[in-house]
C-alpha cells in the first residue's frame, strides 16, 4: 500500500501503553494551580547542589525514579531511554545517563521534546524488539535563563509576551504490556518558520507550527476536534493560543472548550508574574505526567491529543538576526 504522505500521522499497529508517569517540579510550579497533581514538589530550586545544572539532572533522575517505582519495573527492565532538555549538548539528559546506565537516545526539539520522545518511543515499542521504554523531558528555570538570556540578578523587565521556563521534569514508562493509557497515533511536526524573531515572544511564533501539526493529524486520522476530550498544546501560552485559534478559524477548524495549553495551565499569571505562561521541555512533560495523565487514568477524559510545541532557536541565531523556526509533535492518547 502506498503511503498517503510521509508527513501524516502514524497509527500504531501494535498496542503501546503508558504504564506509569512521574512528575517532579520546582517550588513555583508547586504553588501554581496544578501544584497538587505532581508527584513531587521541591521546596527550592536545588540550592543544595553546587550548580543548578546538577540540580536539573537530579530533578530528571527523580522523575525517572518516581515513574519506575509506580510501574513496578526496575532500571534493568528498561530497554531504552529517550529524552531531551534545553541545555547545550542536552547535558541534563546525557549526564543523568551516567547513573541509570541504560541505552540512551538524546533528543532535541526545544519545548516539543517530550512529545518527540513519547511519539518516537511509542513507535519503537510498537515496531521493534524494545519492550519497555522510558521517555522524558526536563528544564530548569535558572539553567535556561543563564544560557538563553541573562544572569539572574541582572535587572530586566519582561514584556507581557515573555514565557517563564519551568523548573520541571516529566517521565513516562512505555510498554507492550497493557497499561491505563494507550498511545494510538503519532504525528511528527514539520519545521515551520512564520518569521517571528523575538525570543521574548515564542508563543505566537510557535502557533503556526502547532496549527500545522494539529491540522495534519486530524486530516490523516479523519477525526474532528470534538472527537477529543482535550487537545492540549505545549507552551503557546495566552498569546500563542489566541493566535492558534485565529489560524484554525481561517482554515475552518473550530476549537471548543477542549483546547488548552500546558504553559497556560501551569501558573497563575495574576499572582505568579509569569506573563505569557510556562515554557521549557519540562513544562509539557510535567503537565502531562502529572495532571493530564491523571485525568486519563481516572477516566475524566477518554481521548487526548497532546501537542507540545518548540521554538528551535539558539542564542547564536537570534543574535545573528535569524527568525525562529518552530516545530510541534502530536501524540494521541486514549484511556483504556
Amino acid at each position: 500500500m502506498a503511503k498517503e504522505r510521509s508527513s501524516s500521522a502514524t497509527l500504531l499497529p501494535q498496542g503501546v501503553y503508558i504504564v506509569s508517569t512521574g512528575s517532579v517540579v520546582g517550588p513555583k510550579e508547586g504553588e501554581g494551580p496544578l501544584g497538587t497533581a505532581f508527584d513531587r514538589v521541591w521546596p527550592d530550586e536545588g540550592k543544595r547542589f553546587s550548580s543548578y545544572e546538577k540540580a536539573e539532572q537530579q530533578l530528571l533522575n527523580e522523575a525517572y525514579e518516581v515513574a519506575l517505582e509506580k510501574s513496578g519495573f526496575d532500571w534493568s527492565d528498561i530497554d531504552l531511554v529517550l529524552g531531551g532538555d534545553l541545555l547545550d549538548q542536552t547535558i541534563s539528559t546525557n549526564f543523568t545517563g551516567r547513573q541509570h546506565q541504560r541505552p540512551l537516545l538524546g533528543l532535541f526539539a526545544a519545548c516539543a521534546t517530550f512529545t518527540e520522545a513519547l511519539g518516537l518511543g511509542s513507535m519503537l515499542v510498537s515496531g521493534s524488539n524494545a519492550r519497555d521504554v522510558i521517555v522524558s523531558a526536563s528544564s530548569h528555570h535558572l539553567t535556561a535563563e543563564r544560557q538563553f538570556r541573562f544572569p539572574l540578578e541582572l535587572g530586566y523587565q519582561r514584556p507581557p509576551t515573555a514565557a517563564w521556563t519551568a523548573t520541571a521534569a516529566g517521565a513516562a514508562v512505555l510498554s507492550k504490556d497493557a497499561g491505563p493509557i494507550q498511545v494510538r497515533a503519532v504525528t511528527f511536526g514539520r519545521v515551520i518558520d512564520a518569521g517571528g524573531r523575538d525570543p521574548n515572544d515564542m508563543g505566537s511564533a510557535m502557533a503556526p507550527a502547532a496549527f500545522d501539526t494539529i491540522y495534519r493529524h486530524l486530516a490523516s486520522t479523519r477525526t474532528r476536534t470534538c472527537d477529543y476530550d482535550a487537545i492540549v498544546t505545549g507552551d503557546l501560552g495566552y498569546f500563542g493560543l489566541d493566535m492558534l485559534k485565529v489560524y484554525a478559524q481561517e482554515s475552518g477548524l473550530i476549537f471548543g472548550v477542549e483546547l488548552q495549553d500546558c504553559g497556560r495551565l501551569l501558573y497563575d499569571p495574576t499572582t505568579q508574574d509569569t506573563h505569557n505562561g510556562g515554557s521549557g521541555p519540562g513544562c509539557s512533560a510535567c503537565v502531562f505526567a502529572g495532571p493530564l495523565a491523571n485525568r486519563l487514568v481516572r477516566g475524566d477524559w477518554g481521548r487526548l491529543l497532546l501537542v507540545a510545541t518548540g521554538a528551535l532557536f539558539s542564542p547564536t541565531t537570534y543574535q545573528q538576526g535569524e527568525t525562529i523556526p518552530c516545530i510541534a509533535h502530536a501524540v494521541e492518547l486514549v484511556a483504556v
Partner: protein
C-alpha cells in the same frame, strides 16, 4: 517574504498583548528620579567635606556603584528593575548591577573564565562605545578648535 510570513506579521501585530507603557513610564520616572536624588545627597555630603563639585563627582560615583552592588548581591536590584525598567537600568547603579550580576552568576564556571571574563558581558558594550564615542567627539573637537 512568503504569504505565511506576511500573515504572521499582521496577526501577531494585531493580537499582541500591549505593553503597560504608561505604568512603565511612571515607575521609570519615580525610581530613576529617586536614585538621582540619592546621588545628589551623596554628592552634597562630599561637598560638605570641603570638596568642589568636580572633586565630589568621583567619590559620588563610587558610592552609587557600591549601593547598586550591595542591592544586587542581596537579590533586590533585579526586583527593582522589574518594576522600574530603565529607571533602574539607566542610572550608574544599574551599571554596577550589570557588572556584579554576571560575576555572581558565572562563579560556578571558575574565577578566571567565569567571574573574570564574564564581568564585562553586559557592561562591556557601554564601556567600548562610550570610550569610542568620547574619543571621536574629542578628536573632532581638537582638530576643529585646537582644544579637546
Amino acid at each position: 517574504m512568503g504569504l505565511q510570513q506576511t500573515r504572521y506579521q499582521q496577526l501577531s501585530k494585531e493580537k499582541m498583548p500591549k505593553r503597560p507603557v504608561l505604568r512603565n513610564l511612571l515607575w521609570a520616572f519615580m525610581i530613576g528620579g529617586a536614585i538621582c536624588l540619592a546621588g545628589q545627597f551623596v554628592q552634597l555630603f562630599f561637598m560638605h567635606q570641603g570638596m568642589s563639585v568636580k572633586e565630589a563627582a568621583s567619590p559620588t560615583t563610587v558610592v552609587m556603584v557600591g549601593i547598586g552592588a550591595v542591592l544586587t548581591g542581596a537579590g533586590l536590584y533585579d526586583r527593582l528593575v522589574k518594576r522600574a525598567g530603565m529607571g533602574g537600568t539607566l542610572p550608574i547603579t544599574g551599571f554596577a548591577n550589570a557588572m556584579v550580576a554576571p560575576a555572581m552568576e558565572f562563579r560556578a564556571e571558575g574565577l578566571i573564565m567565569g567571574v573574570g571574563a564574564r564581568l564585562f558581558t553586559v557592561a562591556g558594550p557601554v564601556l567600548a562605545y562610550g570610550m569610542a564615542a568620547a574619543f571621536v567627539v574629542s578628536a573632532v573637537r581638537y582638530l576643529v578648535t585646537g582644544v579637546a
